[in-house]
């Protein structure tokens, strides 16, 4: 194997994810996330060779070519700039593009900024229609099939094959929102009971309102660097050990098994092969829980469990379990500003590995490996990143 340069996560930061009521906008959030990540990295603006921006939709920012305006705002004029878009996976795709740029030798120190506004000023129907166009706009989108309905149909297919009850969906919902209570940047820190969940409105059976993730305002940023291009103080920060990406047939009905996140399985195999590990070595995971059932489908597809319902019941994914899942609260608890989601998941993994995460969520013994799992569509576009503990730990 040729030795690629080691890609270190020198800086990682997230703004709070929520609905802003302070007249700030996506440019403010991107600025604050970038500034915090840069400070952590001990680098300066002039050190940054390239900027990768993840943002899903110009309908929400009202800004085409967002990388150009953010580069100006962030003081990165002269750097190579790229906007990355892959629906819900946009942020993780940007992480991959940035890390590959370092591996290729074309850049030494790279900024990744993910950002999106929730567009909460638009009507619910407009937002639903716009998100409908993130599936096949010409069939699902125009038919008016909602994201919730597609996820619900996929989860029903998963359930038909593997089992699972309403209690399992409730367990995921309560755990993610409970984790969010210890995350001061979370959108939905809640302590709903099983009864509260069962009483919330049915959106698309089996999914009720409380089984769904919210759309949030927010940004996340990373500073990635070739290990040799960092000051000594940051050389031992966590590294990106493996990346994998894959896609699946867009149409749920054209898949061999509409309940299986096949693209995620492929992406995870590629990421693990690159990192030289197997999924059992993963000690914590931030997974793409757009809906409660999607978290279970993700855990299964990633190979973090061969019986996800049994392991959920056994507490395997709880904060004190063998492989804590979504300590941040995940999309359901922490929130989901689309472009920021994947960047934020990788930032969260890096902060947890380095022992710099919110104290109440920080594991007593940080594991060797973590995985950040992001997808777009009904796991149509999958991107998975394996992070490894830094050299000094």
């Amino acid at each position: 194997m040729t030795s690629n340069p080691k890609v270190i996560v020198a800086g990682a930061a997230l703004t709070p994810f929520n609905r802003r009521k302070d007249a700030s906008n996506f440019r403010d959030w991107a600025y604050h996330a970038f500034d915090a990540a840069l400070t952590m990295s001990a680098l300066k603006r002039a050190d940054i060779d390239a900027l990768f921006v993840a943002s899903e939709s110009d309908f929400f920012t009202m800004q085409l070519n967002p990388a150009s305006i953010l580069a100006s705002d962030l003081g990165l004029v002269g750097a190579a700039i790229t906007r990355c878009e892959g629906g819900g996976a946009s942020g993780q795709i940007a992480v991959h593009a940035a890390a590959r740029a370092i591996q290729s030798g074309s850049a030494a120190r790279v900024a990744v900024v993910g950002v999106d506004p929730s567009a909460s000023q638009l009507s619910g129907d407009t937002v639903r229609a716009l998100y409908g166009f993130s599936f096949d706009a010409w069939t699902d989108g125009m038919t008016g099939v909602s994201s919730s309905a597609l996820y619900a149909l996929s989860y029903q297919a998963f359930q038909a094959r593997f089992g699972g009850t309403d209690a399992h969906l409730a367990a995921v919902t309560m755990q993610n929102r409970a984790n969010a209570r210890d995350n001061p940047g979370a959108h939905l820190p809640r302590d709903d009971t099983g009864q509260d969940i069962a009483d919330s409105p049915m959106i698309a059976a089996p999914y009720r309102r409380l089984h769904c993730s919210p759309l949030s305002d927010g940004a996340a940023a990373l500073i990635l660097s070739n290990a040799s291009a960092l000051p000594e103080s940051r050389k031992a920060a966590p590294e990106i050990a493996g990346m994998g990406a894959a896609n699946d047939t867009l149409h749920l009905g054209a898949r061999g098994d509409p309940g299986q996140f096949t693209a995620k399985t492929r992406a995870m195999k590629r990421a693990c092969a690159e990192a030289g590990i197997s999924p059992e070595q993963i000690g914590l995971a931030e997974v793409y829980d757009a809906y409660a059932g999607a978290q279970l489908q993700a855990i299964s597809a990633l190979g973090l469990s061969d019986d996800v319902f049994r392991d959920l019941d056994a507490g395997t994914f709880a904060p004190d379990g063998r492989c804590p899942v979504n300590l941040s609260g995940g999309l359901m608890g922490q929130g989901a500003p689309v472009g920021a989601t994947g960047v934020g998941q990788t930032a969260t993994c890096a902060l947890l590995l380095e022992g710099r995460y919110h104290a109440a969520l920080q594991p007593k013994h940080a594991p060797q490996y973590a995985v950040a799992d992001t997808h777009g569509g009904i796991c149509t576009t999958s991107a998975v990143t394996v992070l490894k503990q830094g050299g000094a730990r």
Partner: protein, 126 residues
């Protein structure tokens, strides 16, 4: 706050899917049959999972069996299998009671091509 209102009127060419789109407006189930493996897809896939892209347009009889169904505030939708198709389809359900397992493609009602499944007995052909 900056108030900014946009009204967007699109006129979209249907492209290669034209027979499928025109079929929906007539309540016809126009599917794509692969010339290599004879697998029939609805909605049509331009490239068959077997790898071939040559295909022919065929009309199915429009009846479909419901495999999974979801109801809620977003509406009623289902993953269904149209008779004669090898791929499943996601459809909007219109007037199909929860105990009905079979339906028939209905005409798109508005300007958009919509895949709508209605009651089986009500013929949607003119």
């Amino acid at each position: 706050m900056i108030d900014h209102r946009l009204v967007l009127d699109y006129h979209l060419p249907p492209g290669w899917m034209a027979p499928f789109v025109e079929g929906l407006a007539q309540g016809q189930t126009i599917a794509r049959r692969c010339e290599d493996c004879a697998r029939t897809s609805f909605p049509p896939l331009r490239s068959c999972p077997c790898g071939a892209s040559a295909g022919a347009w065929v009309e199915l009889d429009g009846t479909a069996q419901i495999i999974h169904r979801t109801d809620g505030q977003d509406g009623s939708f289902a993953l269904v299998l149209f008779d004669g198709a090898a791929t499943h389809s996601v459809v909007r359900l219109d007037n199909l009671a929860p105990d009905q397992n079979i339906g028939r493609l209905a005409k798109s009602t508005g300007p958009l091509p919509q895949i709508i499944l209605g009651p089986e007995l009500e013929s949607s052909h003119p």
